[in-house]
Symmetry: D3
Subunit: 149 residues, 6 copies
C-alpha cells in the first residue's frame, strides 16, 4: 500500500460522521403508469392499497412509526434512492418475500433503474441466498418482462 493510495483512501473515508440530508427521490413513472403497463404490477398495487386501508383504519401507533421509518430508509441520501431500492430488492429476495420483491422492483423501475441493474441485484440475492431464491427470481423476471419488455 503506497502512502499516496493510503491518503486517497483516507480522503474517501472522512465524511462518515456527518448526517447526510435525506430527500424524496424523483420518480419517472407514477404507480398508475406502472399498473397500466404490467398486469402483475397492477394486481400487486391494488391488493396492497386495499389491504393497507385496514391497516390505516386500525391507526396503530407503532405500525405507523414503522411505516414512517421504512419510508425514510429509502430516500436519496449518501446512497441514492435507486441504489437503496435495489438493496431492498436484494434483502427481500434473500429473505424470499414475493410482495417485498415486487414492491422494490416496481419502486426501482419508477426511479428509472435499467433492467440489467435489477437482474444484477437479483444475481447477488441468488448467490447469497441459494436455489431457494429461484422460484422468486422466476416470478421477478415475469414482472421485469412486463415492465421492461
Amino acid at each position: 500500500m503506497s502512502p499516496t493510495t493510503d491518503h486517497a483512501g483516507t480522503e474517501n473515508h472522512t465524511s462518515e460522521r456527518t448526517s447526510p440530508e435525506r430527500k424524496e427521490p424523483t420518480y419517472l413513472f407514477t404507480e398508475k403508469y406502472v399498473a397500466d403497463k404490467s398486469e402483475l404490477a397492477r394486481r400487486f398495487i391494488e391488493t396492497r392499497a386495499r389491504l393497507n386501508t385496514n391497516v390505516e383504519k386500525a391507526n396503530n401507533f407503532l405500525v405507523k412509526r414503522f411505516y414512517n421509518l421504512d419510508h425514510n430508509t429509502y430516500l436519496d441520501s449518501a446512497l441514492s434512492a435507486k441504489t437503496k431500492e435495489l438493496m431492498g430488492l436484494v434483502g427481500s429476495a434473500c429473505l424470499r418475500c414475493d410482495d417485498c420483491i415486487f414492491y422494490h422492483a416496481i419502486q426501482a423501475y419508477r426511479l428509472g433503474v435499467p433492467r440489467i441493474e435489477q437482474e444484477e441485484s437479483l444475481n447477488v440475492a441468488l448467490v447469497v441466498g441459494g436455489s431457494i431464491v429461484i422460484p422468486h427470481l422466476r416470478r421477478a423476471y415475469e414482472l421485469l418482462e412486463e415492465l421492461y419488455g
Copy 2:
C-alpha cells in the same frame, strides 16, 4: 406521465439484454493493509484463510464451482463492484451471517467505499430484517470503527 418522461424512461431501459462485460475491480487496499489496521479484520481474515486451506485440500468440484460463481457475482459490471459488495452486505445482514457481513464490509472498504455508505446499507438491512439484525449491526459498527476510525 408525459410522453417525454415516458420516452426518457424507455431510453433508460433499453440495454437490458446485452450481457455486460465483467472485470476485476481495483482495490485501494490489500487484505494485509486491512489486517494491520483492524484487529477484528485481522482475526477474520486469518481464520478464513486457515479454514479455506481445508476446503481447498478437499478439492470438491462443486464447492470450487460455487466459489467461482460467487467470485464472478461481485465483479464490476452493469453495477459496480462497490455497489454489489454493499448489496452482499445487505443480504448478509438480512440473513444474519457475521462472517459474511465482515467479508463484504472489508471488501467494500478495500474498494474505497466511504463509511456512511456502509452505514446506509446496514440501515436497509435493519429495517428489512428487524431488531434481530441489531446484534450484527453492533459488531459491524465495531469493525467499521476500527477500519475508518
Copy 3:
C-alpha cells in the same frame, strides 16, 4: 436493589421446577362460528381440514407425535392458552408463515383475546422481524377486520 425487592423477586422465582398442570382452555367461539363470521377464516379452516385428511390417512407415526406435541404446547398452564396462542402468532409472524399466523390469530380470537392484544403481538413481530413482516401483517389485519370488525 433493596433487600425487600430482592425478596419479592425471589418469591416470584421459586416455583420453576414444579411441573405445572396442563389443561384444555375454554373456547368462547367454535370454528364454525368463526368460519361463518369471516370468509378468510372459512377458507383457511376448510382448506386446512381438507389437507389434514391426507395427512391423517397416511397415519405417519412421527407426524402424529409432532401434532400431539404441538397441541400440548398451547394448553393452559403456567402461561394461559391465550398468551401462548399470541406467542405462537409472534413466532409465526417472525418466521413469516401466513397459514400459521391465521391459525394462531383464529385460536386467540376463539379464546376471547381482544383485537388490540393481537395487534400488539404483531407489533412485537414487526419490530423483531422487520419490514418483510409487513405483507403478512397486512393480510393478518384483513383477517382481524373480518373477525372483530
Copy 4:
C-alpha cells in the same frame, strides 16, 4: 354459539381502535444486580454496552429511530411489558438470535417473570422453530440457571 356467549365475546372485542397508553414498566432488578448474579448476564451486558458506544458515537439517524421504536414496542400497554418481553424471547428464539434471547430473558427476569414462564415461552419457540432451536435453548437454560438457580 349462544347469543349470550356471542355478546360476551363482542364485549371482549370492543376496545381495539382506541390507542392504549404506553408507559415504562417497573423493573424489580437493575442491570447491575443481574450482572452481579449471573456471569453470563454480566458478559452479555458489558459487551452490549461496549459495542453500543460505537453505535451511539456514529449518531446514525435511522439507527436511533429504530432503537427508539424498539424501546416503545415493549412498554406496558394493552399487553404488559412482561408478556411482550416473553414474546420478544419467543421471536428471538424462533429466529435463533442468542444475543436477542439473552436480552429478552434478562429483561423478563428484571420485571419479575418467574422461571416457568420463561421455559413455557421457550417451549412455544421450540415447537414453532424446531430442533435447530435446541442449541439456543440449551444456552438460554444456562442463563436461567444462573439467574434463578
Copy 5:
C-alpha cells in the same frame, strides 16, 4: 471401540479425496407422465416452464451458471440422485419453499423413490424446522397422495 471396528471404520473413510464421477440418473417417469397423473404436479410443471421461458430469454450469464451448478449437484455420484433429491426436499422444507418442495418431491418420484421415503424425509424437516413446516407438509402430502395414491 475394538481395534476391528476401528479398522473397519477407517476403511470406510479412505476414499474421500477422490473426485467421484457424476452422471445423469435414470428417470422411471417423464414429467409428462407425472403431469398426467397429478393435477398439482401439472400446474407446478406448467407454471415453472412458462416462467423459465422469461429467465432463458434474458440470457443472464450468472443465472445460467447457477442453474448449471444446481443441476450438477443432484446427479448420481457418491450419493445417489435419489438420496440427493430427498436431501433437496429436506432443505426445501426446512426453508419452507413450496415450489422447491414440489420440485424435489416430483424429481424423487420420477426416480422411483417410494412414498414412505418421501414421508421420512419430511419427518426430518418437520423435527428440524418445527411446526411452521406443517402447512408445507400438508401441501406436500396432497401432492404425494396424487402421485402415489
Copy 6:
C-alpha cells in the same frame, strides 16, 4: 411411459401406508472415540453435555417430549439412520446452525458414513442455501478434517 415401467413404478410405490419398524442404529464409534480423535468434536460434545445437565435438571415435560421425538426421527427405518443423519446435516446447514451441523456430522461419522458422502450432503445445502452457508461449510470441513484426516 410404457405400461411395464409404469407397473414397475407402481410396485416401487406400494408400501407407503405400512408403518415401518424403527430401531436403534449400530454405531461404529463411541462419542468418547470421536472426542479423542478430534479436538473440535471433543469441545462440542463436552459443552453440549454440560449444558444438557441444566436442561435435564429443569425436567420440562415438553422439552423432554421434543428430545424424544427428535431421537425417534433418526432411527433406522424405511430410510437408514445414516441417510437421515445426513439429511439432518443438510437441514442444519440450510438453516445455518453450527451446533446442529457438528451434531449430525459426528453422528454420521459414528455410523460409518464416508467423508465424501458428508461433502456431497454439504454440497446440497450449499446450492440450496447459498453463499451464507460457506462460513458453516468451512467450519464443517475443519471438523471433517479432524475426523477423517
